[in-house]
Structure formats: structure tokens, C-alpha cells
């Protein structure tokens, strides 16, 4: 019997990511990891791409992980977990270790997933390794000091898309990685957010039990890069969901399903105005960027509704 996803039940089990790690106060990544791992009753083995999560949880000679964990390089968390998963199956086949229902999971940020790690991720899911890849998407290279990534929203200021006289922040829309992963035709793909924790946990369970490769894209606020208070993480994440910048949905065996529909779809401005990285957009000469972003959010939302049979 799987543990019920109730706070009372979940509070009884020890965290698999222990307190004392050195992620920043208000970091979305640690909330996501703890919540997701709490949803899994089975043993887990993790691989971690280079990034904040990796660096801040394993400062020598300490580790915050209470589960087997491997870090390799930046671009290859998916390749590494492929090797780990294949080696496990080989050892079981050779009778060297008993067979258990081990869940193999890779965590990577958007830099290590959308950009440098995309090739490794695509290859690993195509080969059909039985693992879940989780992208904690905070929309920039936060570990090296907030450089733009292909997950950075249009107009956002980063240290390599600085808002200035000539160029007002990032010039491109976010790559729709979740849709790209869905196009691989793997058994389970989902988009989630820690502000909807039960939805996040349910999706995690489905993902690790889907019998094949699974991918989850989880929005992860970084208050250092997004520029907001450390106590506003969950609230601002939920605004991304309620403005439909970050819709929550899943694609199970090719079937698209919306898992959360905002009662009232808020203007994207409501999410933008809470974050310092978008401050310059509110100057009169840059307002058109907010309009462009709104149009794109609407276009993607309408498309999603159609795919989910809700339009």
C-alpha cells in the first residue's frame, strides 16, 4: 500500500534530502526535491547534473543526501543515470544483487537540461531507460551568477541578457521543453510546480511507475535571479501557474490532460510585477514586451487547451 499523500502521513518519514544543505533561503529546488522524493516509497538512486542543487548539497566533506547519489559533469546527468540503470539491470541479471523496485531519477536545472544536456536527455529517453528526469527550471544559470538560458522568459534581465539602452533584456521566448519531451512519445511527461504540492507528488508517483522513461518539468523560483523576497517563493510560483505562464498538465501515453485550471486566468503582468528581473518592462518604452509575452502565453495556453480537449 502506497503511503497516502497526506501531510500527517508524510511528516512521519525522514527527508531524503536532509536539512543543513546550503541552498539559499527560499530556494525552489530543495522544496521540489523533498516533496518529490517524499512521494516515492521505493528505494531511489539519483544522478545530478552540475548546478546549484549539486553544489549546495555536497560541499565536501558533507552530503545532504540520504540516498545513493552521483554527480558526473554538466551535460550528462541523463547519460549517467542511463549507465547506472543499465548496470543495475545487468547485475540483477547476473544474480549479483537481488531485484528490487529501484527508482532511478536524474535532477538537472534548466541550464543542464534545456541547453547543454538536451542531447543526453533525448538519447536516454529514446533508448528507453527506466528512469525519471526532473528539470527544476528556474529560468537561468543561477549557479554561475544568473546568465540567460533557453528557459529564461522573454524580457527578463540576466547578466548575459542585461536590460540596457540597446536591448531590453532577453529577446527570445522560453523553449517549450515539456512539449519537446512529449514529442519523444515516452510513457509519461508532466509539467508541475511546488505551489501545487499534491499535484507535484501525484505526478511523481505516476512518473516513477510508468514502466519506462519519464520527464517532469518543475518550475523552481530562484529569488536571487528572479529578484523577490525569500518568503514569496510559493506565492510567486503559484502566480506563474494562475497566469498560465506555467500551466500544470501531463501527457500520459500520448494523452494530454490539464491537471489544474485556474479559476480566473490572471494577466501575466501579475506574475511579472512581483519580480525585479522584469522591472524595466514596466517603463513606457518597454510595455510592448509585456504585450508580446501575454500574446505568447495566450497562444501556448490555447494550444494546450486544444491538446487537452478543453477548447
Amino acid at each position: 500500500m502506497a503511503t497516502k499523500l497526506l501531510p500527517k502521513e508524510l511528516a512521519k518519514r525522514p527527508d531524503r534530502l536532509s536539512p543543513g544543505h546550503r541552498l539559499c533561503a527560499g530556494c525552489g529546488a530543495s522544496i521540489i526535491v523533498r516533496q518529490m522524493l517524499a512521494a516515492i516509497d521505493e528505494p531511489v538512486v539519483l544522478s545530478n547534473a552540475t548546478g546549484c542543487l549539486e553544489v549546495a548539497t555536497t560541499i565536501y566533506p558533507y552530503t545532504a543526501w540520504r540516498v545513493p547519489w552521483i554527480h558526473n559533469a554538466f551535460e550528462n546527468a541523463a547519460s549517467t543515470i542511463s549507465g547506472v540503470e543499465a548496470a543495475y539491470r545487468s547485475m540483477v541479471r547476473q544474480g549479483k544483487i537481488p531485484e528490487q523496485d529501484v527508482k532511478f531519477i536524474a535532477f538537472g536545472g534548466d541550464g543542464g537540461t534545456y541547453d547543454i544536456g538536451l542531447q543526453a536527455l533525448s538519447g536516454a529517453v529514446e533508448r528507453g531507460h527506466q528512469f525519471l528526469y526532473v528539470c527544476y527550471d528556474n529560468g537561468a544559470y543561477m549557479n554561475t551568477g544568473i546568465q540567460r538560458s533557453s528557459a529564461t522568459p522573454l524580457g527578463a534581465h540576466t547578466t548575459t541578457s542585461p536590460a540596457g539602452k540597446v536591448i531590453p533584456g532577453k529577446q527570445q521566448f522560453r523553449k517549450d521543453l515539456t512539449a519537446i519531451m512529449a514529442a519523444h512519445g515516452i510513457p509519461y511527461v508532466a509539467q508541475a510546480a511546488p505551489s501545487q504540492w499534491r499535484d507535484l507528488m501525484k505526478k511523481t508517483r505516476k512518473a516513477v511507475n510508468c514502466g519506462g522513461p519519464a520527464f517532469m518539468n518543475v518550475l523552481s523560483s530562484c529569488n536571487r535571479g528572479w529578484r523577490h523576497g525569500t518568503d514569496e517563493t510559493v506565492e510567486i510560483t503559484q502566480l506563474a501557474v494562475d497566469t498560465c505562464y506555467w500551466p500544470l498538465y501531463e501527457v500520459e501515453e500520448g494523452v494530454w490532460r490539464l491537471t489544474y485550471k485556474p479559476r480566473e486566468k490572471l494577466p501575466v503582468e501579475e506574475w511579472l510585477k512581483r519580480q525585479g528581473r522584469f522591472r524595466h518592462l514596466f517603463r513606457p518604452e518597454n510595455r510592448h514586451l509585456i504585450d508580446r509575452l501575454q500574446e505568447e502565453v495566450d497562444r501556448r495556453w490555447e494550444r494546450l487547451l486544444r491538446l487537452c480537449g478543453e477548447a
Partner: protein
Amino acid sequence: MSPASRNGVLSGEFFMLGDIACAEGAICAGCRFFAGYPITPATEVAQRMSERLPLVGGIYIQMEDEMASMNAVLGASWAGVKAMTATSGPGFSLMMENLGLGVMMETPCVLVNVQRGGPSTGLPTLVGQGDMMQARWGSHGDYAIIALSPSSPQELFDLTIHAFNLSETYRAPVLVMTDAEVGHMTEKVVIPPVEEIEVIGRRKPTVPPEEYLPYRVEPGELVPPMAVAGEGYRIHTTGLTHDERGYPATADDTAQWPLVQRLVDKIEKNKDKIIMLEEDGLDDAEVAVVSYGIAARTAIWPVQMARQEGIRVGMLRLVTVWPFPDEEIRDLAGRVEGIVVPEINLGQIVREVERCAAGRTEVLSVPHPGGGIHDPQAVLRAIRRAAGRKAEA
């Protein structure tokens, strides 16, 4: 930031970070394209370029990884724009395939490696000089390369300009092998007036387009002129072994011999013009310290201390590390009783020094695995030993 002149040169005196000085050097040299990928401790070069290039009509692109970065740089150079990228160890490894492509296609460009401790992810924020042999041999096949090693933010500025000049002169990628100490050091940097900065451009073909062959060199020359896209010249270029037309010629070794030999010769036979060395106190020296980059800077104090102790020691600083100054080291080895080589790796350039010394003098390595600079006492002890003094604690 003070107002820049129209060509983007921020002439003046600054208290400036090494990485930023590197970016400013590139802008002075006429670099108008930067493709890169964030990596500590080189990120500030990219950040500065992302701020500065749009102001001077240039383009900054952040790529999805270092392979793409190096390739975009090659593409930009072939389109006629001076182009650069900056990275550190792990990214340098990923760039190696396309560095070789740049060598083979004879593409002028500059690759800055702000070295950190390795191997692998190693020590992202801490210094290393462990990529010196990778700089020489990192891409597959035979080739020669130019690599410069600055010891200060000012020199990082100067050598970045010089790297562009060398790359345009020899139609080859040039490496600026700096390190985390120099890149992250803030020091006085003087950016001279525009008219005092020597900037060398690409040598263009003088023949009419119908006679132009992209890889033909005139007798006695080693570097073919390079046509710029859009000027009416037809170009074919490839990473395959090619003939004068740039067409693949892979059936046998007929094209391989002249091509690869010339790729090596155009650097090796111009060593006299390329190699820059800085000598100090070598005239009467019984011991020489041979070093480069930040390691040479930490060797200044021990050299002074040894002199006070009565040891006649001098310093030879390799501003150019590749091509290696074989003759100068050979000559030095005949004059001194010992050569001390401090470097922040476990002994890379010391092998070259040993090769050139060929047993004629004692060569002492002062290794350091990276993560810090040398303890000056370790260098001093090696100098004493080389001078035949008793080792002291």
C-alpha cells in the same frame, strides 16, 4: 563605465577585473562577435561582452554549450568578423574538436581559457595551469598552435589584443591561456588611446575573384590570404584534408603532406616573430627560473630573496608558451647550473624545458596541483637546491 570612443575603446586608467580587461582588449582589437557559455571563472568575460558588444555594433550570443560556442566563433570569423569565446577547463575540453576544425580551415579567432583546477569539474573557483599541454595537443592530429600566458590583468588586456593580431596574421586560432587568479584579480589597467593600439586585420586576396584559390600560398609564403564573405570570392572550406581549392582530397597522402606540413610550418617557422619572452637578471645568472602566467608572478619574491642570499638567479618568463622557445631554453641551459620551473600543475612545461636542456643542466620542477598559488618558500628552496646550496627548512 566612462564614455567610449566611437570604435568602442575605453581609453583611460581603470581599476579593473582581469576578465573584464580581457573583454575590453577584445573590443579594442576589433572583436565584434562573442559566442560563449557560462563557466566559472570565465563568466565575467561573457557578461562584459553581453553588455558592451551591443553598444559598439557587435553581437553577443549565448550558446547552448561550448561545442556550439566554438563553432559559432568559426562561423562568425568566416563571415568576416573578428570573433572570440572564453571558457575554462571543462568547456575547453568540449571545444577541442572545433578548435581542430579552426586549425584545419585556417580560421582566425581567439579562445580564452581562464584555467581552474582540474581534471574534470575540479576546482571551479580556484586557480590551475593544468591545461597547458591540452592547449598544445588537445585536438586530434598534427598541428601547431599559438598560446599566450598573461601574468596580470594589464597583460591579459594587452595579450588579448595581441592574440587577435597573431590570429589574423597567421590565419589560426590563438589561445589566451590565463587562469582564475589573473582573471579574478582586480588591478590597475591602462587602456591606451586608440591611435596607440596596434590592430592587424585580415590579409585579403589581391587576385581577381576568378583566380582566387582559398588555400593557395605564393612561393615563399605560408599563410594564404583570406577572402571575406560578400566580396565576390568563391570559397570552399572543410575539415577534410583539402587541396588549394579547398576541395576534399582524401584518396591518398598527396594533399595531406603539403597541407599539414604548412599548418605546422606557418607557426614553427615564424617562431622568431611570434615568441615573446621577458628576461630579468639572466646576464650573470647561475640559476634561472623559467615560468609563465601567475606562477611567474609568485616567483618574483623568491628570486629577490635568493639574490639577497647571494645566489645569482634570474628569471625567464614565457609570455608565449606555444610555440615553445626551444633555442632560448637550449641556450640558457648551456649557461646556468640549474633551471627551476614553478607551474600550477604537476609538471607540464617542465618537460619541454627538460627536452631543450637535454641533460646539460639540472632542471627542477616546482609542482602544484591547483587550488592555490605556490608557497614562495617552495620556489626559494628549489632555487637554493639548484644553486647547490644545502636545503634549509
